[in-house]
């Protein structure tokens, strides 16, 4: 096993021991309770709401894991000085960054997969207890495989958020990293507005600045296809591929920058 893989497994092990995966229990309880309550209140819309809620919860729970573990991956090691022992081993600094990143992505993959299974199980149960006539009124079947597309894009988005958190944690404190990462997450969802900015301002400087920010900041809105999937609209493969490629490029850039900063850093 390579050094990167060993560090990744270690990060995963630590997350499990840190009871990070307990959030899955909370997720399952939330989903089951919501499906029961919503089933009592709505007629015919409950599957749609559960799909929406389930996908949103997958994203939010994943976001918290990506940010709160992501920011601690490097900064906690530095703060607690455990990095001294680790870097004295035959580990190159960039291997440490890649291993940490891969470990958290592995944690997220397990987390998102279990959430997806739980969501499908609840929806499958709801479909099973409904009459055929009721099922006909739904835009898409309860266990529509297209939901996997939305889940995949949520996962890719979480990979990107993890890279952002890791990048910040290579040079700033955990609190500042968390603030900056959440900030970028929020800004990333409204990034498209920056493109429209030039149409509403006269100043060419402001317009250029907005355009530069539009290209520099991560654009996270395209990863959100929940609404389409919930309403049974198809998400083309080309769209998924292009969005994933954008994420891959952004992640590579962030990891490269993180490795560069980290490789030059003094651990005082």
């Amino acid at each position: 096993m390579s050094v990167i893989a060993r560090i990744a497994v270690q990060v995963f092990k630590e997350s499990v021991r840190d009871k990070v995966l307990y959030n899955l229990v909370l997720f399952a309880v939330l989903l089951i309770a919501a499906s029961y309550l919503i089933g009592q209140l709505t007629a015919g819309q409950d599957v749609k709401i559960i799909k929406d809620l389930g996908l949103a919860a997958t994203q939010i729970f994943g976001l918290f894991i990506a940010v709160f573990i992501g920011i601690g991956l490097v900064s906690k090691e530095v703060e607690r000085r455990s990095i001294y022992g680790l870097l004295a081993k035959p580990v190159r600094r960039h291997e440490l960054i890649l291993g940490k990143y891969a470990g958290l992505v592995l944690t997220l993959a397990v987390n998102v997969s279990v959430m997806a299974v739980a969501l499908y199980a609840v929806l499958g149960y709801m479909s099973w207890v409904e009459t055929e006539e009721f099922r006909q009124s739904w835009d898409a079947s309860a266990t529509d495989p297209a939901m996997l597309t939305a889940i995949l894009l949520i996962f890719v988005q979480l990979m990107l958020v993890t890279a952002i958190a890791l990048f910040f944690s290579t040079f700033s404190s955990p609190i500042l990293s968390a603030v900056l990462t959440f900030g970028l997450f929020v800004v990333g969802h409204f990034n498209a507005d920056l493109r429209n900015f030039e149409g509403v301002v006269d100043s060419p400087v402001a317009a250029s600045l907005a355009r530069a920010l539009y290209y520099a900041l991560p654009n996270l809105a395209p990863f959100d296809v929940k609404a389409q999937v919930v309403h049974g609209h198809a998400v083309p493969f080309g769209y998924v591929a292009a969005t994933s490629a954008y994420a891959a490029a952004y992640i590579c850039a962030l990891l490269l920058a993180a490795m560069l900063i980290f490789s030059r850093r003094d651990f005082k």
């Binding site: 060993r6 021991r17 000085r81 004295a88 035959p90 580990v91 005082k268």
Partner: protein, 314 residues
């Protein structure tokens, strides 16, 4: 094979201080030092003298402002050199959620050890540093002293040729210090090079083949303990025969201890050299059993050096 296990050449490190107008503060100033294979070198100095900075430069946890640090003929930070060294950081801290056994297996894996080999080695090393059944407890429950022992074990997981120990005695109780002393002695017996920093001078006195003394980022003295210029602070004179009461007449009663078999041990101060006292003692029918000069301790030597480097008070 490299001529030197460790070689520092004019190693210098400046830290910038201040936010708006950072100014460099010199933590290490042109330190040059060679350590031969098999040597146990005590790297001594008070807090802030640059000991930990030197070790961090050797581990490439920080980068030098100028100069060079080499381990086994390779530059600090080189992966091949890292494979052959062990390092105990000052006040070590590891992963809370791992057990001592898991930590050693994990670190062993980073050296490319197969899991079975790493487990066997972990078990042997934890026995060696005196971690018993608690090796299966998570490290978050370990005391400072136990973490220090685990820290020493992890520094040996790769069977290193060169071992760096940053303040290995700190946080240890007397039993822990004795065990660590014995362990360092056994590392020396196995032919490993040991570079350890300390401000506990009695430990260095007992362990080192050579010491290097740091004051304010500078290497001020290096040499075998026997060769360092220790000042004579007095003499220990053992006499027999005569009457204890006669010693009082010579003004020596306060510095005399009478031991069994009628011998008296007289601690002569520096201002009462033996040639002044011996004729008197002879006249009073005392016989000299032994006369040994009393050198200043390493601690006194060290304090004298520190004092000579202090700026005069304004």
């Amino acid at each position: 094979m490299a001529r030197y296990a460790i070689r520092l050449t004019e190693l210098t490190k400046d830290y910038p201080t201040g936010f708006w107008r950072p100014r460099p503060v010199r933590a290490l100033d042109q330190v040059s030092l060679d350590v031969e294979p098999g040597e146990v070198l005590g790297y001594l100095g008070p807090n802030g003298s640059g000991k930990t900075t030197t070790l961090k430069l050797l581990m490439q946890l920080i980068y030098p402002t100028s100069g060079r640090a080499e381990i086994l003929g390779r530059p600090a930070g080189d992966i091949e050199a890292k494979r052959r060294l062990g390092y105990l950081p000052e006040l070590p801290y590891f992963y809370d959620n791992l057990t001592a056994e898991e930590l050693l297996v994990y670190f062993g894996g980073l050296f490319g050890l197969a899991p079975a080999v790493a487990r066997t080695r972990a078990s042997t090393l934890l026995d060696r540093v005196g971690i018993g059944a608690e090796r299966r407890r998570r490290l978050r429950r370990y005391s400072k002293g136990m973490l220090q022992r685990v820290g020493i074990a992890q520094a040996l997981v790769n069977d290193p040729e060169v071992v760096f120990l940053d303040e290995p005695m700190s946080g240890l109780d007397p039993v822990g210090r004795r065990d660590t002393r014995e362990l360092i002695q056994s590392l020396r017996g196995e032919g490993r090079t040991v570079f350890f920093s300390s401000h506990i001078l009695s430990d260095a006195e007992a362990l080192c083949t050579r010491v290097a003394i740091m004051v304010k980022g500078r290497l001020v003295s290096t040499g075998r303990l026997a060769d360092l210029a220790f000042e004579v602070q007095g003499w220990e004179l053992v006499v027999s025969g005569g009457e204890r009461g006669d010693l009082a007449g010579l003004g020596l009663d306060a510095v005399t201890t009478t031991v069994s078999d009628g011998r008296h041990v007289i601690e002569l101060p520096f201002d009462r050299p033996p040639d002044q006292v011996l004729p008197e003692l002879s006249r009073l029918r005392f016989q000299v059993v032994s006369l040994t000069p009393r050198h200043e301790s390493l601690e006194d030597y060290f304090m004298r050096l520190v004092a000579s480097r202090q700026e005069p008070a304004a």
